[in-house]
C-alpha cells in the first residue's frame, strides 16, 4: 500500500504561502491592516479545515480560495459598517521604506489606492475576476476553476469590469463622468 504524502506542518505551510497570500490580498484592494486580518483568518480557517483538503487542487489554490472567501466577507462587513469608505490615507512610512524614489513610491501608492477604490465600486463577482486576471495575471480557465464558474462567465465579467475600469480611468484624467 502506498503511503500518503505527509501533510506539511503549520510552519511549512505558513512560510511557503504567506507572501503570496499577502500580496494577493493587497492586490485585491485591501489596505495593509485589512490584509493582515484577512490573511490571518485565511490561515486559521485553513488549519481548522486542513482535513478537508482533498489534494485535488494545489495547496496554494486551496488557500487562495479561502482567501477569496475571507476577502468577500471582509468587503461585506466593510460595506455594512461604512458604505462610503475610501480606504486609508497614505502612510508616509510605507513610502519611505519601499525602496523607490519618493515620486515613484507615491505614484505606486496612489495607483494602489485608486485601484482599491475601483475594486470597491465593482460588484463582488467582477472585482474578483478583475483582480485575478488583470492584477494577478491568471488565465480565464484558471479563474474559472478557482471560482467554480464557467469560463465564459469569467470572460464576460472581465469584459464588463474592464469597461468600467476604462470609465474610472477616464474620470481620473478628467475625460468624463
Amino acid at each position: 500500500m502506498m503511503a500518503a504524502e505527509p501533510m506539511p506542518s503549520f510552519v511549512e505551510i505558513y512560510d511557503a504561502h504567506i507572501d503570496y497570500l499577502w500580496r494577493a490580498a493587497l492586490r485585491m484592494g485591501l489596505d495593509q491592516a485589512s490584509a493582515e486580518d484577512v490573511v490571518q483568518q485565511t490561515f486559521v480557517v485553513a488549519f481548522r479545515r486542513l482535513d478537508d483538503f482533498e489534494g485535488r487542487a494545489s495547496l496554494r489554490t486551496w488557500l487562495f480560495r479561502i482567501l477569496l472567501h475571507q476577502v468577500r466577507q471582509h468587503r461585506r462587513s466593510l460595506r455594512r459598517k461604512s458604505p462610503h469608505a475610501f480606504g486609508d490615507a497614505i502612510d508616509p512610512d510605507e513610502l519611505s521604506t519601499s525602496g523607490d524614489t519618493p515620486d515613484m513610491a507615491l505614484a505606486r501608492s496612489q495607483a494602489s489606492r485608486l485601484v482599491q477604490h475601483f475594486l470597491q465600486e465593482l460588484s463582488e463577482e467582477k472585482a474578483e475576476v478583475f483582480a485575478l486576471m488583470e492584477i494577478e495575471h491568471m488565465t480565464g480557465p484558471e479563474v474559472a476553476v478557482l471560482l467554480e464558474v464557467p469560463v465564459q462567465t469569467v470572460y464576460s465579467r472581465q469584459r464588463a469590469a474592464r469597461a468600467q475600469f476604462e470609465i474610472f480611468v477616464g474620470r481620473i484624467h478628467g475625460r468624463g463622468k
Binding site: 511549512e12 490571518q40 486559521v44 481548522r48 521604506t97 495607483a111 494602489s112 476604462e166
Partner: protein
C-alpha cells in the same frame, strides 16, 4: 489570451503601478504567525478578528512564548536532528526529580500518568506526578517488552503502534496543527500556572510536554519555563544549571532575556 493590450495606456499604466504592492516585512510576518498560532490554541475556537488576536498576544508571556517559538522553530528542528536535544529535552524531567538531581543519570523514566491540567487545582502539589528519584533512575532498566517467537500454529499479528513506552504518538508530526494546539495548551498552561504561583503544577505540565513532544516546536519555551519554575520552587542551583543548558542550546533566543531576570540570571 492576453487582453491587457485592449486596455488604454493610462489604464495599463495604472494597473502596472498598482501591481507593485509592499512586501511583508519580517516583524509583521512573525506577528501574524504568532497570532494565527494563538488563535489555533484551545479556548480560542471562534475565529477572532485581529484586534482580539492581538489582545491575546498582548499578554507579554504569551507573546514571547509564541513569537520566540516561531523564531526558534527551524533552529530547534536542526539542532534536534543533530542529536543535541538529549541533554536539554530531559530538563523538565530532571527538574521535577528533586533538589539533589543536579547531575542526573540519562536513563529515561517510563512515562508516568499525568493528571489532566484542567483537573489540577492551582497550588496543589499533591497532584504533581510522582517521578522516580535520581537514585532509582540510575538503576532502572528501560522497560523493554519481552519478545518471543510465535509458535507455528499461532497467528502472527502486526505489532500495534502505541505510545506505551515513549508516550509520543508516532503519528503526530511535530509542528502539525493538532500537535501545535496541544503544545500551546501545555506550555501556556505552565506559564499561567507560574503566574498563579503554582510552580509544581507548572512543572507537571512541562513534564507532560516533554514526554509527549520531546522535540516539539515549543521545546525552547519549555526549557525556559523549567528554569522559571525551578526558581519559583527555590531550587536555584538547578535553575542555574538548566539556564546554562538553555544558553548553550539557544544562544540567540529572545527568551534569554527573561532568564537573565530570573534567579538564574544574576550570576557573575
Amino acid at each position: 489570451m492576453n487582453q491587457k493590450d485592449d486596455l488604454s495606456p493610462e489604464a495599463s499604466k495604472l494597473l502596472d503601478l498598482a501591481r507593485e504592492v509592499p512586501s511583508l516585512d519580517v516583524a509583521r510576518r512573525e506577528a501574524m504567525k504568532a497570532a494565527v498560532l494563538g488563535n489555533l490554541a484551545p479556548g480560542a475556537e471562534k475565529a477572532a478578528p485581529r484586534g482580539a488576536l492581538m489582545r491575546l498576544l498582548r499578554s507579554p508571556v504569551t507573546s514571547i512564548i509564541v513569537a520566540s517559538a516561531i523564531a526558534g522553530i527551524v533552529t530547534t528542528s536542526w539542532i534536534d536532528s543533530k542529536g543535541v536535544t538529549e541533554a536539554d529535552t530531559s530538563s523538565a524531567h530532571e527538574a521535577s526529580r528533586g533538589p539533589e538531581s543536579s547531575e542526573p543519570p540519562r536513563a529515561t523514566p517510563p512515562p508516568e500518568p499525568t493528571p489532566a491540567p484542567a483537573e489540577t487545582p492551582a497550588n496543589d502539589n499533591a497532584n504533581v506526578p510522582t517521578l522516580p528519584s535520581p537514585h532509582a533512575l540510575a538503576t532502572v532498566k528501560p522497560r523493554i517488552p519481552e519478545r518471543r517467537l510465535p509458535s507455528s500454529n499461532e497467528p502472527v499479528n502486526e505489532r500495534p503502534r502505541t505510545t506505551e513506552n515513549t508516550g509520543v504518538d508516532p503519528n503526530t508530526k511535530v509542528g502539525s496543527a493538532s500537535s501545535l494546539q496541544e503544545e500551546v495548551r501545555l506550555v501556556r498552561g505552565a506559564d499561567a500556572a507560574l503566574t498563579e504561583h503554582a510552580s509544581a503544577k507548572a512543572l507537571s505540565l512541562l513534564v507532560e510536554h516533554e514526554r509527549r513532544f520531546p522535540q516539539g516546536t515549543l521545546a525552547s519555551e519549555r526549557a525556559m519555563l523549567v528554569v522559571l519554575a525551578l526558581c519559583a520552587e527555590g531550587r536555584n542551583g538547578e535553575a542555574a544549571a538548566q539556564a546554562d543548558r538553555f544558553k548553550a542550546r539557544y544562544p540567540h533566543s529572545p527568551l534569554q532575556d527573561r532568564l537573565d531576570h530570573s534567579c538564574a540570571g544574576a550570576r557573575p
